[in-house]
Each structure stands twice: as structure tokens, then as C-alpha cells.
Symmetry: C2
Amino acid sequence: MLKLIGLGLSLEFTTLRSIAELVNCDEVVIDSYTSAWFPSLDIVVQALKAMGKSVRIAKREDLEGTATKYLIDMAKSKDVCVAVPGDPMIATTHAALVVDAIKQGVEVVVVPSMSVINAIYGISCLQSYRIGKIATVVRPKNGIVYEYPLHVIRYNRERDLHTPLLLEIDLEKGYFMTPREALEILLDIQHHLKLDVLSEDDKIVIIKAFGSRTSTIVYTSIKEVLDGIAELEERTVYTIIVPARRLHPIEEECLQNIGKIVYRYSHIDIDLIKLLNILSKSANR
Amino acid sequence: MLKLIGLGLSLEFTTLRSIAELVNCDEVVIDSYTSAWFPSLDIVVQALKAMGKSVRIAKREDLEGTATKYLIDMAKSKDVCVAVPGDPMIATTHAALVVDAIKQGVEVVVVPSMSVINAIYGISCLQSYRIGKIATVVRPKNGIVYEYPLHVIRYNRERDLHTPLLLEIDLEKGYFMTPREALEILLDIQHHLKLDVLSEDDKIVIIKAFGSRTSTIVYTSIKEVLDGIAELEERTVYTIIVPARRLHPIEEECLQNIGKIVYRYSHIDIDLIKLLNILSKSANR
């Protein structure tokens, strides 16, 4: 059996189902490259090792292309689990792994979890019916500029929809795009295309490292971000939401107060080994 | 302090953070009317009562309009928690409560969780970048037919996007719209408007009661649903996703196999009281 288990955004945003599935694995492979996870995947590794599980941290090349053959073969005789920060099926590479395994007759179990996309709906003050297509802002590569996110914002704004923007991360190289970098890229594209989609006075929502100890949500103007806001310069995961030009009164009031809503939580000292043991005794497939 | 705590889609999809927050409440009010929750909210009530907490199940009139004054006043001197199936901020009524509380100087903590919207991204085989605006299908009321969802599907399909459709539920009256009813409503609207958005041969994704013991995901034609599929006639929560006409090859392959991906899980016997106690000892604000 092959299980893809979402770990949510952080240890404390992991579900009971995901924890219960983790203890029923013969081999655990932890995807360390598609999403960030707080405080650190080492906690999961240590807890599973303490229970006598075989566990290893995988890099991109371990979970893509021909490397998946090894995993799928192993899943024919053992319960192999791929634990994924966030939601396992958001990344196309995992969906492809699932399809390959099924084609080879392996039973596949998928356990969804909260991802950054979920957080956009839950913590941005914006109404779910007005959230449009998502885009990712990436750095120009080999001279190629990805203009697509600006077109998505334009398209959504023309239809009075909000645009969630994921910012490029490269966990293997330790790169996290900051909101300032993302806005500079978008404004460069706009300048180059002679469009008028974003103005420096536009206010945007920025979600920083949700689920971590330094998590924060800010509602501020593009200009202020470009001028530099210290807490938004830290290299970590960010999501920007560019709201529609017209806000619903409750969206507006909520956004005006978003800095006062507490989304950064008190410390809980989670004994993962104890939890794994409790849920292990009560789970059986 | 006022805390809005998401309970996710079911007991097993509750996060450690939500459980840890629940034990630190003086008064718990459980919203029983915005979303379904599996197996039953009584489990939460019983566990919290066993810990000596004051807890009650709230109806719509207890959490809207003037009734919120009572909650906000109480939150000035105590830790009052509103526990909400799914994600607390998806419902506009909860966002309004948060804003009112903040305006009165009450500290507000919000704990997001998975909602049905999150599940659309995680378990539909469809790529997150291609998911368009969401709509809800409701029954005609007082002779008024809500044509809006058909326009949203048309709009999304013209732009090659998938359309998630939430189906009307009325938990207080025990009403859950079935996929067949929803499609009949949409086809009636289409007929009336002389549009050509949906054809009976179109294949759609139906998510049934995710998180429950009878959960299932089906990829089938509109015609087959209209003809009657027994497991989709049960009165419970459904989500339909109308895919774009053109699918990405991995979406297509994943959908062809979606019936083989296991999203209905083995039983885990969760001792909520024990979990509450463990997380209670380790949490402090």
C-alpha cells in the first residue's frame, strides 16, 4: 500500500487522522522540498525513529521520475508512506505518483491536510465566493520573464475577484521570495507591458509563515512594502492576496482590523511520540 | 477573549491546535448550523463536559444579530470559544462577529481548519491553478430562481477553469441537496435561459460527505446522476466540481482512477478526553 499523508502547515496544524496514519507505516519517506513546515521536519523524523520506524527525508530527485519506481515496487509488499508538508495532492508530482501506483495495482490512500491555499480562504478576511484563480510569482529565469501572474491579477480584477499569489520558494537552495521582491517583479512586468493593473496605493494582504512562531498577517499598501517593512524581509514563506478594487463592507471592516486578530498562537508543548502511541493503539486498517 | 476555533471536517480531521485551544476555554459555544461535522458534535460536547467545561450547542439565532452582544460581553471577562465545524471565517456571520468583538476591545483569536473548500483543492484530482470562482446551488425560494451558479460555470468554462459548486444544506431543517437535485436545478436554469453550458454527457466530480464513514468521490456523467446513483441519494453534504472542458493529462488520468484512490479511512478509536487532557497540560497562553 502507498499512503500520501498531508502534514498540514505545521506540527500543531496536523490532524489526528494524519498522525494515526503515520504510525501505521512500514517505511516513511518525508518530502522536504515542496512546502515549508514548522517548526521542523526533524521532529517527525525523531518521533517516528523513536517508535522504531524506518524513516528518511527525501529530496526532489527521490520522489520524481524513475525514482518513483523504487517506491512503488516497495509499496507492493509493504505500507510505504510519503509524508508531505501541506496537502499532498496540490503538487502535480504527487498526483502523478498516485496515478502510476494505481496503474501498477498498488492500493493508494490519500490523506488531505491544510495547505497555504486553505489558509487563504480561512484567514484573509476575504469572502470565499470572491476568490479568483491563483498564480505563482517566480523570478525571471534564463532571461525569461513569467508575465502570467500579472495577467491573472488583471483578469481577476476585471471580474471583481481577489487574486491569491504564491511566492516562489526553493527549499533545497534555501530561497524564499519576499513580498517586496514579488511586487518589484510584478511592477516591472506591468511597466514593460504598459498596463495599469496595480497602483502603488493599492492595499494588499500579506500572510507570513502561517503556522510558525513569527507568523503575521498584514494589510498594507504596495508602496509601504516597496519602502521596506522589516518583518516582511525575513526569508520565509509568504502569500500575497491582491484584493478586488471593490470590497464588501464586512471584508473592508475585517481587513481594517486584521492586525488585531490573533493568528499567532501560544506555545503548546506537543509530545508527538506520546500522541503517536495513543493513536497507534486505536488505529487498525 | 473570544476564540473562534475551526473543528475541521470531522473529529479525525481536527488539528492538535484546535484541540489545545478547546481545553483553554471557560465557555464553549458550538455552532451547529453552518457546516456538517462527523461523526457528531455530541462527542465534543461530552468530552468537554467530562472535563468540567461549560458547553452548549448554538443555533443560528444564538450567533447572529443582537445575540452576539451577550457573547461579546461575556468575552470581556472570560475566555469564550465559538467552535465551528469546518473553518470559522468562511461564514460571513463569523467574520462579522470577529469585527464586532474587536471594535469593543475584546482580544480575538482565530484558529483556521480544513473546510469543504480545502477538500476541493486536495481531493478532486484537479490542479489548484485551474480552479475558478466557487458558487452555491440553492433551491428556488418564493418563486425566485438563483441563476447565478450557472453563470459562474459558464464564465469559468469560457476561461478553461473548473467550477466548485457547494450544494445547499439546512442543518436546522435536516435538508441536504443531492447532486441529482442540483443538476436538475442547473439544467432547468439553462433551459430557461436558452444557454449551452452543460451537456448531459459532461463528466463531473462529486465529493460525498468527506470525513465521514460513507464518504466517496465519484467521477461520472451528468446523465448517470440524473438517472439515479443510489449512493448519491443519501441526504448528506455534497460538493460538485464541474471541470473545464479541456483537462490536463495528469488531471484526466487521476480522474479516470479517482474511484481507486482511498479517501475513506479505517476506524480510529479516538479518545478525545485523553487527547484534551494531554494537550491541556502542555498549553498555556
